[in-house]
Symmetry: C2
Subunit: 403 residues, 2 copies
């Protein structure tokens, strides 16, 4: 379970890869804040119907900028509704009222480790101290119904990580999460919430939320005011693991949310750590299962630090530079007149041909290019169209299938 | 941590190796009981001063039989005292009175897995049911001051192993050992005691000892009447791991006796299993350390069975056939007139030459043969002489060093 954050995230394969010669600091120095108008466009695009992070980056690559993508959305075969400029401005105002600020992928305040993840949130709301989210982080997560011993372990682990200069990230949940935040309150802790930045959940952790906002940082992917729903939690968990060099699981039952975080960590190439527990305690089943699968056995912070040692010295590699308009984007720059070279469905032989080649079985995009005898750029454009229309699904390894 | 019981034990490298073509059952069929006189000679030789198991087998190989070795002992440069025939007969009588019987290395009742270990006891006293020691075994060992949960886990593990037809071996100690024996009392359990077969230690386990003697089996390496001393326990532990396909450690503190058993298991190529526990419980420290080192995480008997699966189906391979007189022995058969071609120390240039080449740094025997320009047989004989005189130490890989 070795970290491989250095691996180039799939959606940005087209961006320049001079990464090997750049140090993280260079990358930081080259990162820039978006212009206010650009920022508004990013917000509108990423809050558009059906535009998740992967589609967001695909649109940005395809059209060269958020504003060009926004202009294209209404002309797609199945038009996509974007929030108005006023609505986006209202969100920014709400963020402002909450005391937070918006940071976009690739901006100086956007955490570098998270930026390397395929489906990194295009925008994040940040409340509190920005330096917390720029330090190396380790996640400590676990059961809400944790035992007293489990909470004590989480608090001690978090404090030990803090002593080593590591910021502890968790999910502000009851039990292990709360104990981890508490243990790292003095040294630095980041809470990632599942709803909007201004929504405290669970209510019993309001005091902790306030303390973290004052002394650490709170992050949210969703817009202010959004109450967290069940489906939001796994998405939040991917941010927790994405921010961290490694995830420590303390007391997790089988099939628990903490195991979802651990699975994301593995997918993201992060280290997974687990604290062992008695086989007679169902709350330890999930952590023990992780150990059985090769997670690093963890009794104290020293176990985590020993394993992460080289990564802590080197810092996570900088992600590929963001697919922003200032970058030379491949394959096709936007065209001024009719920017979207997509023919309407049923009229364009190319699109029909492509759909004919697709099936519920995932197929490689390269293979589609070959079979359709179209340019790679045309196939990419047609697939983007189908993706926005909800007709295809993307899979790892640049595969697509018909829904 | 994969078992490699198939590897040929070093001290028997000279014996014929038709092993690959023999099934364990063939080997069993070819094993034979020693004649009463032979048995007595084995007992005398292995109870001689300074003759440990490794030296015992070296003597047997060198002189061709226990009786020839006994005849040679008084003529060594530093004579070795062997018990008299009468003393050996008295031991056999004591074994008989205890209700047990003696089994010698390579005899049909001698456990095949143990026989494959380098320093397997030349003789064992067996009390109870012989079929128990011929079945596949797994050791369950752990803390004497075990928690109630630890004892429950050990009992359940042992019962689960028993259901799978595995005999549970342990050391009759308080705590985990006793719980493991109890859990397997109905299915089959073997207690290896550190002293003589008739000495119950600790006294509080007398009832358990009686139950095991009646329904399972008790094994002892030492002669009846010997009270166990601290130094006997590690030697006993090597028998526990040697008998077993794998060792399960439940609740073991750092630096505890159970970890010694686990270390023997690794040296003997056995699987090591450990039950995880809370980092806050010092009794779990050793088991967690084993997990950190690669032991198989074990919550139930199913974890053990899954890992041992192939070995349980195949059974442990038969050891090399015993170096008994009936076998063609290399390199030198005993000579009738003056059977020991060893010159007295100080008179023989060869011995002086050899000592000159030796140092506290271990050196390969092959290298000594080359450097001394003596035959391999001569060097082996001279080294045996030095070994019996306590002047050299043997190391794995056929290395020797001066003490």
């Amino acid at each position: 379970m070795t970290i491989s954050a250095a691996s180039s995230p799939a959606p940005r394969a087209g961006s320049p890869s001079a990464k090997a010669e750049r140090s993280p600091l260079d990358a930081r120095a080259s990162a820039r804040e978006l212009e206010p108008q650009e920022r508004l466009d990013w917000l509108r695009l990423c809050r558009s119907d059906g535009v998740g992070p992967v589609t967001f980056y695909a649109l940005l690559r395809r059209f060269g900028s958020a504003s060009a993508a926004l202009a294209a959305l209404p002309r797609l075969s199945r038009p996509v509704a974007a929030p108005s400029r006023g609505e986006a401005e209202a969100e920014l105002a709400a963020i402002d009222r909450s005391g937070g600020r918006l940071t976009c992928w690739g901006e100086p305040l956007y955490p570098a480790a998270l930026a390397a993840v395929d489906d990194a949130p295009p925008v994040l709301t940040l409340l509190g101290h920005a330096e917390c989210v720029l330090a190396p982080m380790v996640a400590v997560v676990g059961a809400r119904n944790a035992s007293a011993n489990g909470r004590r372990l989480a608090r001690e682990l978090a404090a030990g990580l803090g002593e080593a200069g590591i910021v502890v990230v968790s999910g502000l949940a009851r039990g292990i999460d709360a104990a981890a935040h508490l243990g790292a309150l003095d040294s630095g802790t980041v809470a990632v919430v599942a709803g909007g930045i201004d929504i405290v959940y669970p209510e019993e952790n309001r005091g902790l939320y306030d303390a973290i906002a004052e002394r650490g940082a709170v992050l949210a992917e969703l817009a202010p005011g959004i109450e967290p729903q069940a489906r939001h939690f796994p998405r939040r968990n991917r941010i927790i693991s994405g921010l961290a060099l490694g995830v420590v699981v303390v007391e997790a039952a089988a099939k628990s949310g903490s195991l979802i975080t651990a699975r994301f960590a593995l997918e993201q190439g992060r280290e997974v750590f687990a604290v062992p527990g008695s086989p007679l305690d169902p709350r330890c089943r999930g952590a023990n299962d992780l150990l059985r699968s090769g997670a690093t056995l963890t009794e104290t912070a020293a176990d985590v630090i020993a394993q992460l040692g080289p990564l802590l010295r080197e810092r996570p590699p900088a992600p590929e530079l963001p697919p922003q308009p200032r970058l030379p984007l491949s394959p096709a720059p936007p065209r001024p007149a009719r920017p979207i070279p997509i023919a309407p469905v049923g009229e364009d032989a190319a699109l029909e041909l492509l759909i004919e080649k697709l099936s519920p079985t995932p197929v490689a995009v390269d293979e589609l290019v070959r079979q359709c005898q179209l340019s790679a750029a045309s196939v990419a454009t047609l697939l983007l169209e189908l993706e926005l229309a909800g007709r295809i699904e993307r899979h790892p390894g640049n595969l697509v299938s018909l829904r």
